[in-house]
Amino acid sequence: MLRTKTVNAFYQTNHLKPIYKNLHKIQFQDARNNLAQIEEKINQLTSEDELVLNDIYLLKQVLSFHSSLITMWEEINNKKYSNSWNYLQNCLDSLRNINKFSLNNQKTDVLDFFEKQLLILEKLYPYKIFASIGWEVALYECSICGKNIDSFECEHEIGELYSGEIAIGIAKDITNINHVSMVENPMDKRCVVQYEDSGHHFKGLQFLSGQLVSNQLTPITLYDADETPRKKLNKNYVELKRNEKCLCGSNKKFKKCCINKKYIEEKHIELIVHHEFKLW
């Protein structure tokens, strides 16, 4: 994952395993303390070498990922599902950066495990449509050199890493809001409609939280999901004679209308707990 010996040696000697142990025990504050100790050491790392600085950035992304991961699970445990969504998105953004800037775009097995887990978790949330703004901007300024980031004079590319810093285009002059649209693939998935944590929208998360409380699963043992839809009994189904008029109001005979709707298909996600996966 890392390119330089110095930072790699640091990563190998400062294990994240205590964090996983505490997550497994649902002791979030202890996990956060573990993280703070490593963070303190990382903040002391300095260099003028571009590769080392990029590796330090990568380490900070790993820490940022774990920080969001701990808080996300804590929020789920505390039944604050709406808040936990933002931390889940923070985790996924950190993972994207780690993927992008790691050597050969490959991260560690542990991070692969969490990537899979988080993508499963994402499906339990009710958010499918997001707000997206279309705006007109006169100038995007480079966050590193201050020049017009779209000009050839600026040598930085948006989203690339330079000595530990990602180049960002800062919108300097938004001249008009062109439109607001609802999209399935927004840049930022945090722009969502807020739902009550106790509402039915969070049914999947409420189930997950119950499993956490009853120790049926932990943040370390949620391993996979089976997404096979299942049939359930249709509560509104009324058995009629074949030639009777259907009750749904279609004016058709029952045999030509709702006769086959005794069972309806519903989306079903079965969470798979795997106790044997060893993170320590």
């Binding site: 994207r96 901007v137 980031i149 779209d150 050839f152 590319e157 062109n178 399935e184 930022d188």
Partner: protein, 189 residues
């Protein structure tokens, strides 16, 4: 063949979608769509294009009106794309004004601009550039997201007095395969 593809109007509004939603088009749909891409007759090319095509080389990124804008604007990723070509394909001339106002959609897509192609840049070369650019930008995506990456691609051309438009919508790999066949022959048919 590429060499025969002398006169055309190249119009590309390409975008990739790292589709995070669960509604990616079924593979069967993409396959069918690939077999029968849409081709339709288009308008007569502008004098601006004719001038660029006959007098210049390479690629020109062209501003457009978009959804009621007062002036012609460029898609947000125009600069990123132009700089990517400028850096990775120095052999290709790229004409582009970085000071034109940008329209930014703030969704998870690379939205590329309308371009004019001069006679030294074939459709195949340009499609190859777009595919390489996309693969470069897909490096950070999470597992599963890469499979859902989708590309929409429109291409208008002029052959003698005939003007046609080719639309593609499907996977990046699909476009890559499509690019290997004789697009010239396809459009003439």
């Amino acid at each position: 063949m590429i060499g025969h593809f002398k006169r055309y109007l190249g119009r590309y509004t390409s975008e990739i979608t790292v589709a995070r939603a669960e509604h990616a088009p079924p593979l069967e749909y993409i396959r069918n769509y690939m077999k029968e891409p849409t081709v339709e007759i288009i308008n007569i090319p502008s004098s601006e294009f004719e001038k660029f095509h006959s007098e210049s080389e390479g690629i020109k990124i062209v501003p457009e009106f978009y959804n009621g804008t007062d002036e012609k604007v460029l898609q947000r990723d125009s600069g990123t794309f132009a700089k990517w070509i400028h850096k990775n394909h120095t052999e290709i001339e790229i004409a582009y004004d970085p000071d034109v106002k940008k329209i930014s959609l703030h969704n998870n897509e690379y939205w590329l601009p309308l371009v004019y192609l001069a006679s030294d840049v074939s459709a195949q070369i340009y499609i190859g550039l777009v595919i390489n650019f996309i693969y470069d930008k897909l490096k950070g995506v999470l597992s599963g997201e890469k499979d859902k990456a989708k590309i929409n691609f429109s291409f208008e051309y002029k052959d003698g007095d005939t003007h046609k438009r080719f639309d593609y919508s499907g996977s990046v790999e699909g476009l890559e395969k499509f690019n290997k066949i004789d697009i010239n022959k396809f459009l003439k048919n």
